[in-house]
Symmetry: C2
């Protein structure tokens, strides 16, 4: 293996000088910088990241925490989008991203988890798909031991930022657009899950709608399940003018139920995963949104790692709005 020492010798300069040009510090003359760079390419030198990490005590290592979707493929698409966005962005920011599944750490308590992450020399974390029931993770966040960015859950503190889609606004908007083309104001809202942060945000949109449309929505929880949405639709579709769902998968369930009932009601989904194409509808994906969200998260984490304070950011809604223009109604 060829080291900076070799480079230094080849270039005829000191070892520290090489280190400086490698890390882009200033205080090196144009001439020596060139000498060093030449030596580097001549020798085909590649810096040893491990040694750099040990020496600088900065591993630049971040963990991407996500949940496997054992129940629906939509989850897989979302996860892959997050992952590719985050990993690519990490690469651009010279961070080293490792992916971790909830399932791998679910049997650890807070302190064991902290030990584990430390032994992996992980400095920061991006948490995808957190919900209110993930108590260990919530404790981890509260401990402020690691720099963390939480996606789509409004948790922040000195070392935690959050980046979210504005679900309240998006849900309001999606349903309102659907209403533009119909008569009546009776809403059946099939919400996700009580323990989901985004479901909570979406429900505030329903309150706002009730107020604006002078109506009282019928709200049921579908637990993000196609089947439950289907059942809810069978039960309550008749006394509704529109069926709005907190996820696309549930919208599929609702549409199927309507087909079997052989009645027409506008159905409005949320999420825009590609899966929808197989329910007989054409649509663009919002894959890009998830990638962007992940990208934003990486940038925020980098800020945090560099010492800034935790903060909440909203991102992605603009894009989602565009995509929803002509979908599902």
């Amino acid at each position: 293996m060829i080291t900076i020492k070799d480079v230094a010798a080849e270039a005829g300069v000191a070892i520290s000088t090489v280190s400086k040009v490698l890390n882009g510090y200033d205080g090196v003359s144009r001439a020596t910088r060139d000498k060093v760079n030449n030596a580097v390419t001549r020798l085909g030198f590649t810096p040893n990241a491990v040694a750099a990490a040990l020496s600088s005590k900065q591993s630049g290592r971040i963990g991407l925490l996500l949940k496997m979707g054992n129940d629906n493929t939509a989850m897989d698409e979302i996860n892959m989008s997050y992952l590719s966005g985050a990993i690519r962005s990490a690469m651009d920011n010279r961070l080293d991203a490792v992916t971790i599944f909830y399932e791998m750490i679910s049997d650890l308590d807070r302190d064991a988890l902290i030990s584990y992450l430390k032994s992996q020399s992980i400095e920061g974390l991006i948490i995808f798909g957190l919900n209110k029931e993930d108590s260990t993770l919530i404790k981890l966040i509260e401990s402020e031991v690691f720099k963390i960015v939480v996606i789509d859950a409004p948790l922040t503190n000195a070392s935690t930022s959050s980046v979210s889609i504005d679900y309240a606004e998006a849900q309001y908007d999606v349903i309102m657009r659907t209403f533009e083309n119909i008569e009546g104001n009776r809403i059946l809202y099939i919400a996700g899950r009580d323990s989901s942060y985004s479901t909570a945000a979406k429900l505030t949109a329903i309150s706002r709608l009730e107020h604006d449309l002078h109506t009282r929505a019928h709200i049921v929880y579908g637990d993000f399940s196609e089947l439950k949405a289907r059942e809810a639709t069978f039960k309550y579709a008749k006394e509704s003018d529109i069926i709005a769902c907190g996820s696309d998968l549930m919208a599929i369930g609702a549409m199927r139920a309507l087909m079997e009932l052989d009645i027409f009601k506008p159905v409005c989904g949320f999420g825009g995963v590609r899966l929808m194409a197989y329910a007989g509808k054409q649509m663009n994906t919002v894959r890009q949104d998830f990638e962007n969200l992940a990208h934003e998260a990486v940038v925020r984490l980098k800020d945090l790692l560099a010492g800034s304070e935790g903060k909440a950011y909203t991102a992605g809604y603009e894009l989602i709005r565009m995509k929803y223009a002509d979908v599902l109604n």
Copy 2:
């Protein structure tokens, strides 16, 4: 941060002794081993993997190389299954897995890629979804610079193993089972892509079928595209008794075409991704198979890293056979 030095002091032994018990070397008395372990738990010591890597010159770091599925969600499910299988297995084997997307390295030539991987101190690689057109990767494999396990592509050398599903056998079996229930022997086979290794394997199954059934199959390439399979079906369905496809997505396309044509022919897919549930068929997923395949790959890579020779392994077909018992015919 608390180091082995602290542990050594706490336990009243030498640093090297601590290192030995930590790494499970023998040559330490039962008594001192206990003393050390107690000190470790008392202090809540977590070894620094970076320092260990630098010192031992073994990072234990492996790269998981995979392709994003920009065209179909089935790909996402497969990728996620691979990933979770590989990552979990890596954790169990005390390896450190980082995921890398083809897209991130597609603009690098062989040597640049080698540099990149080295700078990341990656010692081994598991390559998913390789096809014959990925020339840079093939060159990388041929260079034998890294220990590599290739999934589903028959490439091996001194430092490369491959782990594959027995596609030839599986494809033969799946089609044969479908034939059990029908009359006639005319096959329309919609193959994947010419550049795909697994497509090549599946095509050998077709030759065997032609021989066994005294027939001549009509073979077209569907490029793993639902649309192309659909078109092929429109064109050639009438003169066939069965339509066999190299992937489930293409089987969906074929089924849709048949529905529009309003004729019935048995359709036989391949792959068993959960997506199929949305095409109106119930089935189990072969998610587990992909996880197992990935697991197998990690184990093989570990062998390779430990110094064994590259070799080809077949795995997973047994499982797939079970799952196909009552699917799609």
